[in-house]
């Protein structure tokens, strides 16, 4: 009987840790947010639920328990769970809003620090929490119905149901476009932004859901214990959750759950160290020995797992693309409302300095709609910086950029992408841990289908959007003549294939203006020719191109207009033949001694 009670307690504890681990997994394993203060959500949920459900002071129950706390709302337990989720979620939103602009390191430290601030507040505001003394009358749901012996089993069942529901919901969400977007953000946030993804918003939502899950875990835990005090919410809880997640395998909720069970098994296993002959005497004479040993073990496990099992027990699996129903229809060309006479892209007096170096120095040019314009110039001439400025990846110091007559200077990359500009990077920035198909699907999924609501409730319209995107992905793969690469991980592709996939992702969005940064560099000659044939075809269908390219033969053959940059300025522009004959260009770029 003792053994059963012990075992049920452990399984309940493991489930609670599993819930924490999948909550953290949504934040880190999916969205890539390094949160070293996860315990704060756990604490917020536990206290919220306890305070909401405690019998109000002065009531009979309060007096019976000879309680000392000052605030209790006496509401039913289910409302405590709601309050817990709300408290965890709101706290996460607050932390996310404050730290949204912080880079990785600052984020890890800021979350760590904020959890300590939360603990310090809970510890000091004794009117609310009784601080270090804690509250020992936290109600147990249906505690009066069950006999004490069977209560543990009942609570285990309750925990299993709650954890199971949340687990199913999060898995569902993880496989939805929302989850796919989160994984893309984790792999390469900037690359998601230039595809028009609202990454900050998606990350904040992942953080909030993860926070709410942590809060509910807090409620489950505190109602099972019946006791709550600040000392339960120390930083090591956060790192045990990290350990569970890393041990199980990030990005995979099954792994996170498994990791939690392993963690609890190992942790509770240390209880028996005191019975090992030899160690038992140390344990008896040194009260610090056993608890310290447990933490030494957790520390060693953290080190070992990271070093020797970076993928965890259940590494994130490759998601195979579902079969696409039917054959793909020719996708309709998107409508392109543009100001009739405006150039596709216009740059006026653009400047950008890095320290003492003027990367772009008063550049002026316009790109005719429907053209393929080559942007050439020696290394360091400012070509890549120009692409960065046009796509909003860098902000110009001064000057104006207009896209189809509309000013876009200083807009964020995702806003510019939404206005119809797509770009690739010189070194392709794909989502390496996702398949080719998923890379395309992220790019092709319209924003309304990537919301949380769309993730939970997949309505007919959302299913239809998924099917449409999948059909389009098939078309793109066929057009690029690589349908066999569908389920390859993008991280395993060769350099040339990566360039192709970068272009493919843009084709999924089909923006009216595409900026390609050295699409043929590192691609073998035959493939480079094919690539440019593809570009020409897209161009005939109405796409305007600005292409940075070194290979002069390609520029001469495929571009109808060429802009030569040097020293951050436009040195010359014109038809390929004109540029080729220009003396300045020969001197600066082609390296001719003209004299």
């Amino acid at each position: 009987m003792d053994l059963i009670a012990f075992a049920t307690g452990l399984v309940s504890l493991a489930l609670v840790y599993g819930l924490l681990a999948i909550g953290l997994n949504l934040q880190f394993g999916f969205a890539g947010v390094i949160n070293f203060g996860y315990v704060a959500f756990f604490a917020a949920g536990a206290f919220a639920s306890a305070i909401v459900t405690l019998p109000a002071p002065g009531t009979e129950a309060y007096l019976d328990a000879s309680a000392r706390y000052q605030i209790g709302l006496g509401l039913p337990v289910w409302s405590g769970f709601l309050a817990a989720g709300l408290a965890g979620g709101l706290l996460a939103l607050f932390i996310g809003a404050v730290s949204a602009r912080l880079a990785t390191h600052y984020l890890a430290v800021a979350t760590f620090a904020m959890a300590e601030v939360v603990r310090s507040v809970l510890g000091n505001e004794t009117w609310l929490t009784r601080g270090e003394f804690g509250i020992s009358n936290v109600p147990q749901p249906l505690g009066e119905v069950f006999a004490p012996e069977s209560y543990a089993l009942f609570y285990l069942a309750l925990t299993a149901v709650v954890v199971g529901l949340i687990f199913a919901a999060l898995r569902h969400l993880g496989e939805a476009p929302f989850g796919r977007l989160l994984r893309a953000i984790k792999d390469d946030e900037l690359s998601a932004r230039v595809l028009g993804k609202r990454t900050a918003r998606a990350k904040l939502r992942a953080l909030a859901i993860g926070g709410a899950v942590g809060g509910v875990a807090g409620a489950l835990w505190t109602h099972s214990l019946g006791v709550i005090h600040v000392g339960q919410f120390v930083p090591i809880v956060t790192f045990q959750v990290w350990l569970a997640m890393l041990m199980g395998g990030t990005g995979n909720h099954w792994g996170a759950m498994l990791g939690a069970f392993v963690l609890v098994a190992i942790r509770e296993g240390t209880r028996f160290v005191g019975e090992v002959p030899g160690l038992d005497q140390i344990a008896a004479s040194n009260p610090s020995f056993l608890p310290s040993l447990r933490f030494v073990l957790i520390g060693l496990l953290l080190i070992a797992v990271v070093r020797f099992f970076p993928g965890g027990l259940l590494p994130e699996r490759r998601r195979r693309a579902p079969a696409t129903p039917g054959t793909s229809p020719a996708s309709p060309a998107p409508a392109r409302p543009v100001a009739p006479d405006a150039p596709a892209l216009e740059v006026i007096s653009l400047r950008k300095r890095f320290g003492g170096l003027a990367a772009v120095d008063n550049a002026n040019f316009a790109i005719r709609r429907g053209s393929i314009t080559g942007l050439i110039g020696p290394n360091g001439a400012g070509k890549s910086t120009m692409i960065d400025l046009l796509s909003g990846v860098q902000r110009p110091d001064s000057g104006t950029i207009r896209l189809a007559g509309e000013e876009i200077t200083g807009l964020a990359p995702e806003q510019i992408a939404d206005r119809g500009l797509g770009r690739t990077f010189q070194t392709p920035r794909l989502y390496p841990s996702m398949t080719v198909w998923e890379n395309l699907m992220v790019a092709g999924m319209p924003q309304p289908n990537e919301t949380l609501r769309a993730g939970f409730l997949r309505s007919g319209a959302h299913r239809e959007a998924e099917v449409q995107a999948a059909l389009r992905a098939d078309t793109v793969l066929t057009e690029l003549e690589v349908p066999h690469m569908r389920d390859e991980l993008a991280g395993t592709l060769s350099g040339g294939q990566r360039k192709l996939l970068s272009l493919g992702r843009l084709m999924m969005r089909d923006p009216p203006v595409m900026l390609l940064d050295e699409p043929a560099a590192g691609v073998n000659r035959r493939l480079a020719g094919d690539l440019f044939d593809r570009i020409t075809k897209l161009n005939r269908q109405g796409t305007t191109f600005l292409i940075v390219e070194h290979e002069m033969q390609l520029v001469m053959r495929y571009c109808d207009h060429v802009i030569v940059m040097h020293q951050g300025r436009v040195l010359a522009e014109g038809t390929p033949a004109e540029v080729r004959a220009n003396a300045d260009v020969i001197e600066a770029y082609l390296g001719g001694a003209v004299a």
């Binding site: 602009r101 600052y106 430290v109 300590e116 009260p287 040993l293 030494v296 060693l300 990271v306």
Partner: protein
């Protein structure tokens, strides 16, 4: 009157924080990650110093010897745990450093017990200045802190080792290309970082009058606040950040709410980060 006294306490605490923060930020400069086990260098420093003092060594000598010993521990930790992960990105390093912190902290706890132990500081008579009593300990702390920071400044500006450390921090690839053995510079930097951390820990023990196994881990957050405030990787930023945080904590505890002195450190930090996401000396954007 109270204000001046608070100022002295604040500066002394600020000195402790600043010294520790300089140690942390130096190692960050060459390895590019925040070492969550840095607090354990503080704790080890204080305990080694305590042990040596109990064995009969004078406090100053005990402190120096402890610092050197902890410096060696720092090199060992870097080589055994962090170096193999250098090419694997940020998260493995951060998590490993947390693991190291737990291991070291709890090993200390096994040997020393969980309860705080009194630090063997001789009784000293406070100095009276114009009706104000200023404890000598605070002045000693401030003095040691200032000397340590001056020493770091001299090391970085005027010795070849310091210049190499700055070169590796500036551009590790170029440093290799210029023929600098990054291995040796790394070892030296971790030695200095841990050694300074140990000094910070000893100063902290003097301010708290006791040593305890969790002292460094708890203090770590305040050190982080100082480092981030000044801009990670900038030793001079860490010094300024440390002094500011110390003052904010003492002033806040005296005039606003005594229980929240740690929270003040973070509130200040968060305010600064909102305004300047890379810290005071961390450059813009």
């Amino acid at each position: 009157m109270i204000f001046v006294q608070t100022l002295v306490y604040g500066l002394a605490l600020g000195g402790v924080i600043a010294v520790s923060a300089v140690g942390l930020t130096l190692a960050y400069g060459v390895t590019r990650f925040i070492n969550f086990a840095f607090g354990e260098f503080l704790t080890l420093g204080a305990f080694f110093c305590l042990l040596l003092a109990q064995a009969g060594l004078g406090l100053a000598w005990a402190g120096l010897a402890a610092a050197v010993a902890v410096g060696a521990v720092g090199v060992l930790v870097e080589r055994a745990f962090y170096d193999p992960l250098m090419s694997r990105g940020l998260l493995p390093l951060l998590v490993t450093s947390v693991g190291v912190a737990f291991v070291v902290q709890n090993l200390i706890r096994i040997f020393a017990g969980s309860n705080p132990v009194r630090f063997p500081l001789p009784l000293m008579r406070p100095i009276e200045v114009g009706g104000l009593f200023i404890p000598r300990e605070q002045l000693i702390i401030l003095g040691v802190a200032l000397v340590t920071m001056l020493a770091v400044h001299l090391l970085l500006r005027f010795t070849m080792l310091g210049k190499k450390m700055r070169a590796v921090a500036d551009d590790p690839m170029l440093a290799r290309v210029a023929g600098i053995s990054s291995r040796r510079v790394l070892d030296a930097t971790w030695f200095v970082s841990a050694m300074i951390g140990a000094l910070g820990g000893i100063l902290l023990a003097i301010t708290q009058i006791t040593v305890a196994p969790q002292m460094g881990w708890h203090f770590l957050l305040v050190v982080f606040a100082a480092v981030l405030l000044g801009g990670i990787g900038s030793p001079y930023g860490a010094m300024i950040g440390g002094l500011l945080i110390g003052l904010a904590m003492e002033l806040g505890a005296t005039y606003v709410a005594a229980n929240y002195s740690y929270a003040f450190a973070f509130i200040m930090l968060i305010l600064v980060l909102i305004l300047r996401p890379r810290g005071l000396m961390g450059g813009s954007g």
